[in-house]
Symmetry: C2
DNA sequence: CATAAATTACTTGCGTACAATTTAATTGTG
DNA sequence: CACAATTAAATTGTACGCAAGTAATTTATG
């Protein structure tokens, strides 16, 4: 809380810019993923599973910053598509593990070309790309840090 | 289409970063706007109207890159809250003009402090702030340009 | 060991977001 | 002028995204 008071118009510009950029990326993916039969959020869930298979709803929720109210029905949809299976943990029956099926694993290769298209279309130089990513992460961190305003003194 | 082939993981990182940043901003606004009784998308519509009052659904849709399927019900909600009025154009009865009520205009001052809070919480330096905004705009433009792939030769 | 507290997933309800369709009004063309 | 094409809103149906609440299981505490 020092000299960080920005012009309100500028702040609005940032909100709009974020809003617009997210929509443009989502839209680009949506039109291309349509042929594969999945949505962008479903793609993100699969992305997380392609990184590491067999994760609980909770783990997916933390990674994607979504709650179970969003994930449970979403995952049931990709289960119905035959891309993942759901299975309750035997150690802890509260947990539900989500695993890729063969079809789910196979899909990774099919979407690689889509990812490549999008990456190309960003039109950003490498340095812009990295700076943008880092600024976005920094922004997210600041917003989340400040969100829980419980300053716990040591 | 030159040397713009990025590592897929990095592209994913950008998607995630965008996704996360948008959610963090939206969440920050949501918790604060809750006291005012409006949602973040409703706030964005009001923002556009505070810039210039009395716009058609179409104009709002273009500015916010949303379609009437989203805006029509949203605007009916802020109409029910008494913040705007809807009135069909007399020149062209296809158009519906949305105008701020006194309550709608008054709200601008009430949310100014919220905007100030968010602006502060971004935690970005001025240069990071500007670079981020510009990169986001550039990204959006590239995505939208490429979206309509109809290259019309002169 | 029994019970309270915490954790995990599920469910419900509301509000976006968008594709696709419909309706009504306006503009363009022969 | 008539009729096709276009435009603007509204409607319908599907899928998020999240708050709030529920149910079942596990962990913590007295």
């Amino acid at each position: 809380m020092s000299k960080k008071y920005k012009n309100l118009d500028l702040d609005n510009q940032l909100c709009f810019a974020l809003y617009a950029a997210t929509h443009s990326i989502t839209r680009a993916y949506r039109t291309r993923l349509d042929g594969v039969g999945i949505t962008y959020p479903q793609y993100l869930v699969l992305l997380v599973l392609w990184e590491r298979d067999q994760q609980t709803i909770k783990e997916l929720a933390v990674r994607l910053k979504l709650d179970s109210g969003t994930l449970t029905p979403l995952i049931k949809r990709i289960e119905n598509l035959g891309l993942v299976t759901r299975k309750r943990s035997e150690n802890d029956e509260r947990r539900v593990y989500v695993s890729l099926t063969v079809a789910g694993k196979t899909l990774e290769k099919r979407v690689a070309s889509i990812q490549k298209q999008i990456a190309c279309k960003t039109g950003l130089s490498d340095s812009e790309f990295f700076d943008l990513r880092d600024s976005l992460y920094k922004l997210t961190e600041s917003m989340n840090d400040n969100e829980s305003n419980k300053v716990i003194p040591a």
